[in-house]
């Protein structure tokens, strides 16, 4: 039996701030431009993809993040089974999208590590290394942006007020988590 090894097993709490790595979460990148692509995705995973830039949409078990005009990330809302890397939604999407040449479906479950940050000081923490202007972002839930944190590419999803999901590429995750916890310790 192959064992599942999380790149980071981390959970830290600070005053008005806590950080936790959550896994396994299914993550897919889907790309396409055609109208049939959008309707095909809707049918396959039973949700409408957000088409407004830097937004997201959520259903019971899935969240879709807008990444670029023809690119979305699909996330499972709950953790998945560690003993398989075959996902029902991925198969639905492959059959309804890539198999019929409407677009691309790529599994990136382990490409990204999801760090959930909670608390009132989230944006104080991010401002220590992220040049993005969060002034409007912080007041509106559902926003999605891609920027840099400590020179590392990140995706920030404003899940709820005072609750943010931060996605970072696996190989960078240890460095980023270390930078974040260092900064958080002084906030």
């Amino acid at each position: 039996m192959l064992n599942y090894n999380s790149p980071l097993v981390k959970e830290n709490s600070y005053s008005e701030l806590s950080m936790k790595v959550i896994n396994p979460i299914m993550k897919l990148i889907i790309r396409g431009k055609k109208r049939e692509f959008l309707s095909g995705v809707g049918k396959a995973i039973n949700m409408i993809l957000p088409t407004e830039s830097c937004t997201s949409s959520t259903s019971n078990d899935t969240t879709a993040l807008w990444l670029s005009p023809d690119e979305w990330m699909i996330l499972s809302n709950n953790v998945i089974d560690k003993n398989t890397n075959s996902y029902e939604q991925e198969n639905h999407l492959i059959n309804n999208i890539s198999k019929i040449n409407l677009g691309a479906v790529v599994d990136v479950t382990d490409q990204y590590v999801l760090i959930n940050i909670e608390g009132k000081k989230i944006f104080d923490l991010l401002s220590t290394g992220c040049p993005f202007n969060f002034n409007d972002f912080r007041n509106k839930k559902g926003g999605v942006i891609q920027s840099l944190m400590a020179k590392i590419d990140i995706i920030v999803h404003h899940k709820e007020i005072n609750n943010v999901n931060l996605l970072v590429r696996r190989s960078f995750s240890e460095h980023l988590y270390s930078f974040l916890s260092d900064a958080a310790s002084r906030i």
Binding site: S98, D110, P131, E174, H175
Partner: protein, 1001 residues
Amino acid sequence: MAKNLRTKGSKFIDETTRVCFKFNGNKYFGFKGDTLASALLANNIHLVGRSFKYHRPRGIMTAGSEEPNAIVQINDNTAFTEPNVRATEIEIYEGLEATSQNCWPSVNFDIGGINNFLSPILPAGFYYKTFMWPASFWLKYEYFIRRSAGLGKSPKFPDPDIYEHKYIHCDVLVVGGGISGIMAAKISAKRGLKTLLVDENPNIGGSTIFQNSKYYKINNLTSSSWLENEIKEINKLENLTIKTRTSIAAFHGYNFLLARENLTDHLSANEKKNKVRQRLLKIRAKKVITATGSLERPLVFNNNDRPGIMLSSALKKYADFFGVACGEQNVLFTNNDTAYETAISLDQKGIKVNAIIDIRENSNSELSKEVEAIGIKIYRSSTVVDTYGYKRIKKISVMQLSTDGQSVKGQKIFINCDCLGIAGGWTPAVHLFTQSGGKLDFNEEDQIFLPKIYPSKQISIGSCNGDFELDKIINNTLKILKEFLEIDETEYDNIDVSGTRNLNKRNIWLLPSDKILGKTKPFVDYQNDATAKDIKLALREGFRSIEHVKRYTTTGMGTDQGKLGNMHALGIIADTAGVKMSELGTTTFRPPYTPLSFGTIVGRNVGEFFDIFRKTPMNDWHVKNKSKFENVGQWKRAWYYPNGNESMHEAVQRESKAARESAGILDASTLGKIDIQGTDASEFLNRLYTNSWTKLDIGKCRYGLMLNEDGMVYDDGVTTRLDKNHFIMTTTTGGAANVLAKLEDYLQTEWPELDVYLTSVTDHYATISVCGPNSKKIVSKVIPNLDLSEDNLPHMSFKNTTIDNIKCRVMRISFTGEQSYEINIQANYGISLWEKIMESGKEFNITPYGTETMHLLRAEKGFIIVGQDTDATLTPIDLQMDWIVGKKKYDFIGKRSLYRSDTIRDDRKQLVGLLTDDPKEVLEEGAQIVANLNKKPIEMLGHVTSSYYSPNLNKSIALAVVRGGKNMLGQKLFIPMENKSIIVTIVDPVFLDKENNRLNA
């Protein structure tokens, strides 16, 4: 000397908290809220340091960040030491130790003071003229020049403090918390704009906050009381953030500003423990309001630098704000009315003013009348011609000015004093404005430079915009802000302001003395000891541009950047050369406005955060098994795995033998992986790579070479056809991010018609490469359900499979020349699979090998590494890889460039193999290759790109690029080293198994 010059009753100083500090080893006391300067002055200490060149005794001149003289070393000989700290800025705290700089053995007796007496032979340009000859002596000169260079001492220990960076975005940034800055911040924040107000001082309020005078009233309150109420109000505003002790260091284009927020420099060692010392704020503001105020000008006259000579405004601030008398016998020397305000302030505090020397003929302002009524003697139309006293001013001599102000006449009068306040008018602080790219305009009436053309959404208000009178400041500020913030009315529209000051001033840049200029020392730049006569000398020697004069005389080049004296330098040049100041322009104002510590610039990018590191999924295994690591780009890659005390050479020899003789295992997860999907995917690959992709069967892999538009090799790797419209491309480790960006760029800008989508999956997969004669046996144990027969999985093919229910891909590709299996599995199962393979391979002595062995194994096969054997000057033809260029292809990136006359030359540098005559001699990578050792200058034909000792071939092998090397097979060449020349023979770059028999063995 031990006197207490504290006057009672300053509300800005906490006289209930006594603070003990040391200056030059002696213990003194001050109060919480004191700067080092105010505390020293309260202890009657003026002598603080020595000047740079002449080592003249110098004291405190100002009460702000423009201070040129009173710069000290803080906490010397500790890890916390800092040189060139302005005593006028640093706040005292319990345990502070400050020492004078640029003096030895002490500030009171300084050997270097001899320079003062040698000054006639040390004019501007002395170094340039003197140390030019004889040229061979330069190294000796340099030794002494270096020793005398600089002021403070650099820290010797690592800085233990913590510094941070912070990004801030605001609608409006207000720089400067004086009266106009406070008004601007309030107006802006009350309109719902996210506003940030910064001020370099510990408190806001500027100079108005201690302007408790009946002459300046706002809504029937003294201006200070009115402002206090305003400050209380703005402190409650939600949209406003106020940051004190925060100095804007740089104002860059598009309203991007850098500021240093000083958080703990005013705290004692205990209080500052574990706190961030300074923060570099990176501010993006939609609009910037500059309210940086103005700096008082000194006057330039003979010996105007003695300790005890201070700016008149500083005297006033020390009295009104800090409650400190700078002297007991004060004299003021002025060209305008502000000195009269100082006189009245001092008188109200019970501080004696002996006289005012005014270079104007008369002043009939209210202020002047009050001063006369107090009984202070005013010497009108007079100038100070000399000052006396070595370590503290003792007296001055005064004479009448001629009508044109260029000479003196009449009787010389001597006046005793222990402090001389000088007031030469005001210079708007336009530094930040010009840093941002703003253009200045010269105002002839006030002899000042003012902002004219704004390069971004910014505006200047208050005295930095040339408004010096209270009513003018307030009225103009409101007018400007309404337009700038696009508002119709403000809460100040019905404000009632009264303020009066005679605006009449007389500007003489260089005041005359009874002595000839050559015998005087009228300092223009105090810190660098540049005098008016140095500037005149520079002009006489032919320097005309202000930038040249600055560099020749070092005027304005100290840590204070000449904030006090630059205008005088300009004025003297203009007067002497007979040009207008407006035509002369100014020197360039460069960031930072005040010095920044390296720590602030660096922030948290130290220690573990110095550089980003990336780790592979199997990293923990490598660490546990004592691998040595190599940085490859940002990746930490396993380099080699020494057994016990093995050296790298020994480990690599063992690892590479194992890989060829039985089995080796390599972590190849760092290779870039790009998922390519779409109906035009194969056409896309056709255009990218030099070879053809249309006919690649599903399930097959192919090696590709990617060129730049210039035809030079850019990247390489194996791409696999997973399905009709689905490929996975591998790139080099270092090239991954750039290749993806380049491909995405082509898709978006050049070939938008192609139906192709790219997604990076580099981090999604762990890649494990198992190679060697026993690799098949091991892989079949790990994946028993996969048919590994040559028919099912031949070389350069792939299969989807599962290991314990986990999907993965197995590819038969080889970078070693051995039979190899590359398994790609989701990253989080990588380490488990690696362990499983290690376990299964135990019976075959499977040996983990690192990047060093990988390099050796591929070099034996003559496989290139892009970036090691290539350097963006080599075409595929140069690499002897003609076979990979699809001659029949319609086009691919770089094709056209391959047929330029330069790229088809025969004598280009070409990749070849090298063998040394002595098989044990291993060449150095980078070593130059020559054909003729005797020819001068020696002609270099090329260099060694890769070199190893091959245990499999029992000889040293190397790859090299050699001019015309392709046609030189068998030819002997030389590699000249420091002590010997090595003879090499050019050979084919494939050293091992040219027939590729081992791939299928």
